[in-house]
């Protein structure tokens, strides 16, 4: 599979401060890469470098195999993007905005525009001025604008800002459809991991300008296996059975970390000692927790180094 977007050791400084350190990742066709990191981690800067909005100090960015430094026009031919906010001309109508953009690419038909207007659900308001739109509507218009040139790379910077839950669901479905049916490569950034968890194929975590991990959702979720919650009739003397990282919870519940093989022995031991067990459930750690642990781990390493 060919990488639609590829970053190779990209570095960026603002003045003396290094903002990005050797950023490398790639997005293949049909992949949705969730670009996750806290605010200020360098998500937007990375996206701006990819789109040529800021200069790359060192390293390379390839889009469809074209280096954006040397071959910018061709590289951008099949890119759709929303950076920071949807930036439409407020004094024009939604339709006028779309027509402006359509004029900048070859052969975009009127039908294509109408189709997209329908797709993002702005049909009734498309001739209103954008200044009268809500943030959510502007976001939808921005998505229509980004899709006008039938891109094979979509770069979306926090596109869920301002969308209501329904809008987020719609966007999610749309992106999945684009990725699976049209083989579009999608880079989507967010500080909110929960939003991306359900539909991204890959996750790339950035913190303080460094990529901490890039892997598939499945691998990340695998980390969260191995913790169980058990409800007992009481918690007297329970401490003697718990390990260091195990926890007592409210309502006579405990949380324990055990390998799959160990958990059966553990339950048996409790039963042997006259505890009654009402329920045992595997705790599904959210991606968010896995994510926080990654960042935490990184921080620990750092503090150990000092």
């Amino acid at each position: 599979m060919e990488a639609v977007l590829e970053l190779k050791n990209v570095n960026k400084h603002f003045g003396k401060k290094q903002i990005l350190h050797d950023i490398s990742f790639s997005v293949n066709e049909g992949e949705i890469l969730g670009f996750i990191g806290p605010n200020g981690a360098g998500k937007t800067t990375t996206i701006k470098l990819i789109l040529g909005l800021q200069r790359i100090d060192s390293g390379e960015v390839f889009i469809n195999g074209k280096n954006i430094k040397t071959n910018f026009k061709e590289a951008m031919e099949r890119v759709g993007a929303i950076v920071e906010n949807p930036d439409s001309y407020m004094y024009l109508s939604g339709m006028q905005n779309l027509e402006l953009i359509a004029r900048l690419y070859k052969n975009i038909s009127k039908e294509k525009i109408n189709e997209l207007v329908e797709l993002v659900g702005l049909k009734d308001r498309i001739h209103d001025k954008v200044s009268k739109y809500s943030l959510g509507m502007r976001q939808r218009l921005g998505i229509a604008e980004a899709l006008l040139n039938s891109p094979n790379l979509l770069v979306l910077d926090e596109p869920t800002n301002g969308l209501d839950p329904e809008g987020i669901t719609e966007l999610r479905n749309l992106l999945v459809k684009l990725a699976t049916e049209n083989k579009v490569a999608i880079l989507i950034s967010s500080h909110n991991l929960a939003e991306l968890q359900s539909f991204c194929t890959n996750i790339c975590i950035i913190q303080e300008g460094k990529i901490i991990s890039t892997e598939s959702i499945n691998a990340l979720q695998h980390d969260s296996l191995g913790r169980y919650i058990i409800e007992l009739n009481h918690l007297e003397n329970i401490d003697s059975y718990l390990k260091e990282e195990d926890k007592k919870l409210e309502n006579n519940m405990i949380e324990v970390g055990r390998e799959r093989e160990e958990i059966s022995d553990f339950i048996f031991e409790l039963l042997k000692n006259n505890y009654k067990i009402y329920q045992v459930k595997e705790k599904e750690k959210t991606l968010e927790q896995a994510f926080l642990e990654r960042i935490g781990g990184e921080n620990d390493e750092k503090s150990n180094q000092k």
Binding site: Q54, R55, F72, N85, L100
Partner: protein, 473 residues
């Protein structure tokens, strides 16, 4: 594909509130200025009559309170003359006669009355003369006066010709008086009394330039002398041409003509189109930065240079469109106030080299004037644009553009003057062999300065725009 970028820029420009306001502003400004010019012009009959009435009232009061003879003479005669003027239209042979002859007589009469007494011989003599003049006024035949004047001038010529010494200076004198007679005959033939009309004033001005030329030292030394001589020669030759070709006709008494106003707009003398040029050039890039829309534009498959060039071209096209719009507005508004036939006023162009005048058509002359002043507009726009890119501030860019245009270093008589942009970017100065008021500023130096500055400014703009990073919000 660049064409579409330019199309988009023009589309955006024309849909902005600011540009719509500027269009309405152009109409309002033109109407207000022309209304004021019309109403307060010296040839406005209504305001003239109003003014006369208030002056009469004032004279009446002053007649009573004046305590010295000079004041008394002035207010008594002024009162009388103003009463008289009230009876005749402002632009009329009668008013001309009152101003030139009767007012002097009135003053002389009152001088005699107050100094020599009401029974003095001198007073009675002038009084008789004055009354005769009033009589004459009632059935005023201005042609008779002109004929008398012709006779008087002919007599002067006869005397001059009789003198045995036919030196060149006497010949100049004779030529002068012959030209005066020619003007007087012209008045008779074309029915132009000395009535203060535009045609009459043009004839008077021609005679003034003749006289000035006669008195002038032709061996000029300084640059300023040279300019003065050239200007007088110009007035003289244009006047002569107009006489030769019967061009001084009754062009009404309007404060201006459409032709004159349009030429002044096209040669960049007004503030409005300069303001628009600076405004558009200053805002076309910063507004995209302010609203973040620049990101949208820059991620399209175009190089930054293409985007910059499209914006500059759109600015120029919009400016030219606005100028045409402004010309049309002026044509209509001036037409309403000054009369639509004033578009037919002849346009005479003078060539300093061959010292000849020629009549030209309005449209070609408008285009020529506009093209000659275009370097000034273009450079102003380019410089404002450069500052706009650098600072992302419309206000700062406009300040720079306006300062450049408001500053005037024409009189800086030092060699450095030739490097000052505002001294060289308006090539109307050099049109038809003209020279700059500044002796150091020549056509060649101006061309070099303008071309070099243009290239440097455009290259710099491109570099700055290409290096511009879109900072995070």
């Amino acid at each position: 594909m660049m064409k579409n970028l330019i199309k988009n820029e023009l589309f955006k420009l024309s849909h902005r509130t600011e540009t719509k306001v500027l269009l309405i502003f152009a109409i309002l400004v033109t109407i207000v200025l022309n209304f004021m010019n019309y109403y307060f012009s010296e040839t406005n009959e209504n305001s003239y009559k109003k003014q006369l009435k208030s002056m009469i009232k004032f004279d009446e009061d002053m007649k009573k309170s004046a305590d010295n003879i000079e004041d008394k003479i002035y207010y008594y005669s002024d009162y009388e003359i103003n009463q008289l003027k009230l009876k005749y239209p402002l632009i009329s042979a009668e008013t001309g006669y009152i101003n030139q002859t009767i007012s002097d007589l009135a003053e002389e009469m009152y001088r005699n009355q107050f100094t020599n007494g009401i029974n003095s011989e001198s007073y009675l003599e002038v009084k008789k003369e004055y009354e005769e003049a009033l009589q004459k006024l009632e059935n005023y035949d201005w042609k008779q006066d002109i004929n008398e004047e012709i006779k008087a001038n002919q007599e002067v010529i006869d005397v001059l010709s009789d003198t045995t010494s036919t030196s060149s200076s006497t010949q100049t004198e004779i030529d002068y008086y012959q030209e005066v007679i020619r003007v007087l005959n012209y008045r008779l033939k074309n029915n132009i009394p000395q009535d203060g009309s535009n045609a009459s004033n043009t004839l008077d001005e021609y005679l003034e330039s003749l006289q000035a030329y006669k008195m002038m030292n032709k061996n000029v030394v300084t640059h300023q002398d040279k300019i003065a001589l050239m200007e007088v020669e110009k007035a003289l030759n244009i006047g002569k041409y107009e006489l030769d070709h019967d061009l001084i006709k009754d062009q009404g008494n309007s404060y201006t003509t459409i032709a004159e106003e349009l030429l002044s707009v096209a040669s960049g003398q007004g503030f409005m189109i300069m303001f628009v040029a600076i405004f558009i050039a200053s805002m076309i890039i910063p507004t995209e930065f302010e609203k973040g829309t620049i990101k949208q534009l820059l991620v399209k498959p175009y190089t930054r240079t293409e985007i910059l060039v499209s914006k500059i071209i759109a600015t120029i096209l919009y400016f030219i469109g606005y100028t045409i719009f402004f010309l049309v507005v002026n044509w209509i508004v001036v037409g309403i106030f000054a009369g639509f036939n004033t578009i037919k006023a002849p346009i005479i162009v003078y060539d300093f080299g061959s010292k000849t005048a020629t009549q030209v058509g309005l449209i070609p002359e408008l285009i020529k004037c506009f093209l000659l002043v275009l370097p000034r507009f273009l450079l102003t726009m380019f410089i404002a644009n450069l500052f706009a890119i650098g600072s992302k501030s419309t206000v700062l860019a406009m300040f720079v553009g306006l300062s450049l245009n408001m500053s005037d270093f024409t009189m800086l008589q030092k060699p450095i003057a030739k490097f000052i942009l505002s001294n060289c970017w308006d090539f109307n100065v050099f049109a038809n062999g003209g020279i700059s008021m500044n002796e150091y500023v020549t056509l060649t130096s101006s061309v070099i300065v303008v071309v070099v500055t243009t290239i440097v400014v455009l290259l710099l703009s491109n570099i700055v725009f290409k290096r511009k990073e879109i900072k995070n919000q």
